[in-house]
């Protein structure tokens, strides 16, 4: 397994090195190892030296497509490594004309799902620094715990567990063999659970969550569909929203941000991953996706760029979620 990973790594590196060194791309967006083994962080590679640090492992969670808009201002052509969810984010950005697809070389990495360090820690009952892992095909062995072995599936990030399209779409080339689609996963069980509890409890739940919001806007910064030049929360004219730590304002911020992602969210989970207070933000956008699917037909943002986004089209006999 480890050998295969190394082989994969070489395959990836060779493919992108060719393009970077030949000048087909000026910059490669990929990942490199972070401070710890359970962290992989974005890599901005411009030369072969940088490329030596390139990595592809079970912790390459950051969706790099969000960097494109800014980086394209300074680079003519950018290569980018994309997992399934990331590729849909790129497609959605292209559909919204935020990114000129001609100036991007998209390398797809079919994704077996990424590991959640929090779950590793929980399973091991140890601090992550005291822990190591060995990854097999379907299982992960925790070293430092007398060799406890757990099904890989059990250790996946929440967003990976509900992922339906692990294979990248619309890429210029796939660097690894496809892993196949996974249709059997329930994406909405958490949303359904929340839908079913009484309104009062639901309000209490969200209040207790939003109360903790620091309004740091990390969710927005990391989100590939938050592509506005000036977010509504920062505008003075009109002043949509105050800046105080006030629960109604936190509600408005999060509901509006989620609603602004309607028809755009690719479920990459970056909003939730970067939240310093661990707000369950994906549930808001998942709720909207679920409703879109129920009311106006299945829509997966970034999957088919020819399909009209659901809020930009209509059918004369659309259903309504209100008494007309």
């Amino acid at each position: 397994m480890a050998e295969r990973r190394i082989n994969n790594m070489e395959k990836i590196r060779t493919a992108v090195a060719q393009d970077l060194l030949s000048g087909r791309i000026d910059l490669l967006l990929g990942w490199e190892k972070g401070l710890y083994w359970w962290q992989s962080r974005p890599l901005f590679a411009r030369n072969s030296e940088d490329l030596q640090r390139l990595t592809w492992d079970s912790f390459c969670v950051a969706n790099l497509s969000g960097y494109l808009q800014e980086e394209l201002k300074e680079n003519k052509k950018i290569g980018i490594l994309l997992k399934g969810c990331d590729s849909r984010a790129l497609n959605r950005l292209v559909q919204d004309q935020m990114v000129d697809r001609e100036r991007v070389v998209a390398y797809g990495l079919p994704c077996p799902g990424l590991l959640d360090p929090r779950l590793l820690k929980q399973e091991a009952g140890l601090e992550l620094t005291a822990l190591g892992i060995e990854e097999g095909e379907d299982r992960v062995t925790l070293t430092g715990t007398k060799g406890k072995s757990i099904a890989r599936e059990e250790l996946l990030l929440e967003k990976c567990r509900r992922c339906h399209h692990p294979d990248p779409v619309g890429c210029d080339q796939l660097l690894l063999p496809p892993v196949g689609s996974r249709e059997d996963r329930s994406r909405f069980h958490q949303v359904t659970r929340l839908e079913e509890i009484p309104a009062e409890e639901r309000f209490a739940y969200w209040s207790s969550q939003f109360e903790r919001c620091l309004r740091c806007y990390a969710c927005r910064e990391a989100c590939p569909c938050c592509s506005c030049r000036e977010c509504f929360v920062e505008q003075e004219e009109p002043r949509w929203l105050g800046k105080a730590h006030e629960n109604s304002e936190n509600f408005i911020y999060h509901l509006t941000r989620a609603f602004h992602s309607a028809g755009r969210c690719v479920e990459c989970g970056e909003c939730q991953r970067v939240c310093p207070v661990e707000l369950p933000l994906m549930e808001l956008s998942s709720k909207i996706i679920k409703d879109i699917n129920e009311l106006y037909g299945e829509y997966q943002a970034g999957l088919d760029t020819e399909q009209d986004p659901p809020l930009l089209t209509y059918q004369p006999d659309d259903p309504a979620a209100f008494v007309e």
Partner: protein
């Protein structure tokens, strides 16, 4: 919950107190100029009676709505919000209300998901000839929201209204 709910003391709490009987909800209605606002005018010329706590904001088309207007109304103390437009197919601008139907259907479900009673936010199609429907919608909306009581969940704790 403390910040928002803690202020419910300002307005009458649930329960059958005489105070609650007296309490009338504040309802903001966004109406399109060509159908619903005109329907409101017709309710007027026909001298139909509906509760005075409904206050109308005129817009050219229901598609001028922005969910942030609705959220703002709740935050500033509205107990209910209505968006009203032409019937599907009758939009003065041909298609505005079709987009509204999709947008606000999703938005309404999101509001409900956040714990707001869905009765507090409603959308209705009222034509220029439906003065009776206009008055009826205002009446039933008021009654539904009266039954729910004041909207304590969403009020900005710093916002003070005047009597």
């Amino acid at each position: 919950m403390s910040t928002a709910l803690g202020k419910t003391g300002e307005v009458p709490v649930n329960g059958a107190s005489p105070e609650k009987e007296r309490w009338t909800p504040l309802i903001v209605a966004f109406c399109c100029n060509w159908c619903s606002y005109a329907g409101g005018d017709l309710a007027g010329t026909s001298r139909m009676d509906y509760p005075a706590n409904v206050k109308v904001i005129r817009m050219p088309c229901s598609s001028r709505i922005n969910p942030l207007f609705i959220l703002r109304a709740f935050q500033r103390g509205a107990d209910g919000v209505l968006v009203a437009g032409c019937h599907p197919g009758d939009c003065h601008y041909t298609s505005g209300n079709y987009y509204v139907r999709r947008n606000l259907s999703l938005f309404r479900r999101l509001l409900e998901f956040s714990g707001i009673e869905p009765e507090r936010f409603q959308v209705s199609w009222i034509s220029a000839s439906e003065g009776d429907k206009f008055a009826g919608v205002m009446q039933s909306l008021t009654e539904e929201i009266k039954a729910l009581g004041p909207n304590g969940k969403w009020r900005d704790s710093r916002w003070q209204s005047v009597e």
